[in-house]
């Protein structure tokens, strides 16, 4: 417990600093009210809005832990959203829509996993294929329009709340906890890390590296499906052109802010979802602060750069060195005196 807390300490610290920063521009940032039996406030918005990226980050963490990367998740969101919406429009009901969407996500993951593990295509290239082609598939399903449905039951997944907490927030926390437990309470986590660090050595030790890689891409597809469902439920429609657009990059960024190495190996799902919350806090904070929109991306980039620099292990050692040199110089000066 203490160990895992120490692992996510930099991310928690970053969140605290960001919260302080946003509060400075927007004093009631941390205020949470109760309205119509649901919690309301910027923090609640962040928990809710950050859901798609947080869920994507869960799957992405696993893929990254094997030394891979999944660029297709944003597109898979669009596909699964389109599948769900068209099932609803056809009147097949919520359960069928969910099953079809999740199925589509897992098929997408299976496709990616097979390209990577069986055909040995580089992950970045393999998933790029679906990233580009997938939006076309989504557009075929929606026939190029925003597919609007009117099922309130499905909409609950995007905008409902349980015990005052928004459903998307519950969904990402649940996903994160379940996947983390699955990884750490079984041997999956260890095997994934072993494959990520040294695939050859792991395979030689009898680890089914190929199978594991396919599984993590399927998990990533499943997470993308969940994120797609939330996005579609949120706007009561499937927008094939814009759903999940560029979110794969936010998900990768979340994983990186979470301190996970893109080279694979040790991973922390908790740190990744905190990374997603950091990104969302920045996004929401910029909106609340009310800067002109031309500054949005610049501010975000500066903040992300600052976070990554502070977390950089290289920089940490440089800091230690600089401090040591200063101390030495001071000692030398004192000697001279």
């Amino acid at each position: 417990m203490i160990r895992s807390l120490r692992r996510v300490a930099p991310q928690l610290m970053t969140l605290v600093v960001l919260a302080a920063l946003v509060s400075w521009f927007f004093p009631s940032f941390l205020q949470i009210d109760m309205s119509d039996g649901r919690l309301v406030g910027p923090v609640i918005d962040i928990l809710k809005r950050g859901a798609p990226v947080a869920i994507l980050a869960v799957g992405m963490t696993l893929v990254v832990a094997t030394g891979g990367i999944d660029l297709s998740v944003g597109t898979v969101m669009a596909i699964t959203g389109a599948v769900a919406a068209s099932a609803l429009v056809s009147g097949w009901g919520v359960p069928v829509a969910l099953i079809l969407a999740v199925g589509a996500g897992m098929i997408a993951g299976l496709w990616n996993g097979c390209l990577v593990a069986v055909l040995g295509i580089q992950p970045i290239v393999a998933t790029l294929i679906l990233m580009t082609a997938g939006r076309g598939i989504a557009q075929l399903i929606t026939e190029g329009r925003i597919l609007t449905y009117s099922d309130t039951g499905f909409g609950f997944l995007g905008s409902g709340s349980i015990l005052g907490i928004p459903v998307p927030a519950l969904l990402w926390v649940l996903t994160g906890v379940l996947v983390a437990l699955l990884m750490r309470r079984t041997a999956l986590g260890l095997l994934v890390e072993a494959v990520g660090v040294n695939k050859r050595a792991s395979a030689l030790a009898g680890v089914n590296a190929r199978g594991l890689i396919i599984v993590v891409y399927m998990a990533s597809g499943l997470c993308a499906a969940l994120a797609g469902i939330i996005a579609t439920a949120d706007i009561r429609g499937a927008d094939a052109n814009n759903a999940g657009l560029w979110l794969e990059l936010d998900a990768i960024l979340a994983v990186v802010i979470g301190g996970n190495s893109l080279l694979g190996g040790r991973f922390s799902i908790a740190a990744s979802v905190l990374g997603a919350m950091i990104i969302q806090t920045i996004d929401t904070g910029i909106l609340l602060a009310g800067f002109p929109s031309e500054y949005n991306l610049v501010i975000k980039a500066v903040l992300v750069l600052a976070i990554l620099m502070i977390q950089s292990p290289h920089l940490a050692s440089e800091w230690a060195l600089i401090r040591m040199q200063i101390a030495r110089r001071r000692a030398a000066r004192e000697q001279e005196v």
């Binding site: 809005r49 190029g144 925003i146 429609g237 929401t284 929109s293």
Partner: protein, 317 residues
């Protein structure tokens, strides 16, 4: 049935051929990147059919080289006119010169090009600034003297619709100090970002209590924002007035449910005015003006939004 249809078509074709010698028009469309674009394609085909024009359609899939190739093809086929929705503004000089050489009139739809205006017959399009102005005027007329704090959902930062629709709206409300834009952020022209940004507006403006109206640069963002307003426990259309631009089916649906107040239509029927201008040109060489501005019609809750929705929902939006 089939026989009857066939007979009718044949008769119609023969009759038209005899009357006006069916004209052939080539249409190079950008692609189908948005619902509006799809509706434009549908309407262009409908308009051509109504007028007995033989339309040759080519989808450029967002590529200029495809459009140039399509135009060259049309010229080679000796069509009577070319309609083009240019994907970019530059690089059209030589292909327009080729069309001029072949004495084929070219009509630009919806977007403009940088070439000199004697290279094409005319351009049909809407005036983005005017659209914003119509929306602004509507708000002025609606709120009267009451104070009104407006939040604005901009289009994609830096895009010309976002810039022009903002300018137009500001022009529309100019001189009415009771109306003030208090927050303005980009919603990227999408439903989901529109919703997200609206949520932050609501947070920032005392849960939405301080907001009197929402102006969105397109309907999609307005539809997203309407949901955000509803989820915040307010009534869109009553507690917060909603005005936006484009006239897509979903905003008419929202209007019919009382959740949106007004939209300014950016008509996808660019082809109608284009064909009218062409007909006059073919008949006696009448030169149309170099820019034909389409109607920026205002629709409100009083304009039978349910009926408008029905009329539009199958156009491919």
């Amino acid at each position: 049935m089939t026989f009857k249809t066939l007979m009718m078509t044949t008769v119609a074709t023969l009759g038209l051929a005899a009357a006006a010698q069916a004209q052939t028009v080539g249409f190079s469309q950008i692609g189908s990147e948005s619902g509006w674009r799809a509706a434009e394609t549908t309407l262009t085909k409908q308009q051509a059919e109504e007028r007995g024009i033989d339309l040759k359609f080519s989808d450029a899939q967002q590529k200029q080289e495809n459009q140039i190739a399509a135009m060259r093809n049309f010229i080679a086929q000796g069509v009577d006119a070319i309609l083009i929705a240019p994907v970019v503004a530059t690089g059209w000089d030589s292909i327009l010169a080729e069309a001029k050489e072949a004495e084929i009139p070219v009509v630009l739809l919806d977007r403009k090009v940088d070439s000199s205006d004697d290279m094409y017959l005319t351009a049909v399009g809407s005036d983005l600034v005017h659209e914003g102005e119509v929306a602004g005027k509507w708000l002025v007329d609606t709120v009267g003297d009451k104070d009104c704090r407006v939040v604005e959902l901009q289009g994609t930062t830096g895009s010309s619709p976002a810039i022009d629709r903002k300018t137009g709206f500001e022009k529309g409300i100019a001189g009415h100090d009771n109306i003030e834009i208090v927050r303005s952020q980009t919603g990227d022209f999408t439903r989901s970002v529109g919703k997200e940004v609206m949520e932050s507006f609501l947070q920032a403006e005392n849960g939405g209590e301080n907001i009197c109206a929402l102006y969105a640069h397109n309907d999609d963002m307005a539809v997203g924002a309407i949901q955000a307003i509803k989820e915040a426990g307010l009534l869109p259309g009553k507690d917060i007035l909603v005005v936006s631009i484009d006239g897509v089916p979903d905003i008419f649906k929202a209007m019919s449910e009382g959740e949106a107040n007004a939209t300014v239509e950016l008509t996808p029927n660019m082809a109608g005015p284009a064909f009218d201008a062409l007909a006059a040109y073919w008949k006696d060489g009448t030169m149309p003006p170099k820019f034909i501005q389409t109607d920026s019609a205002l629709y409100t809750m009083q304009d039978d939004p349910a009926g408008q929705y029905e009329a539009r929902k199958d156009l491919g939006y």
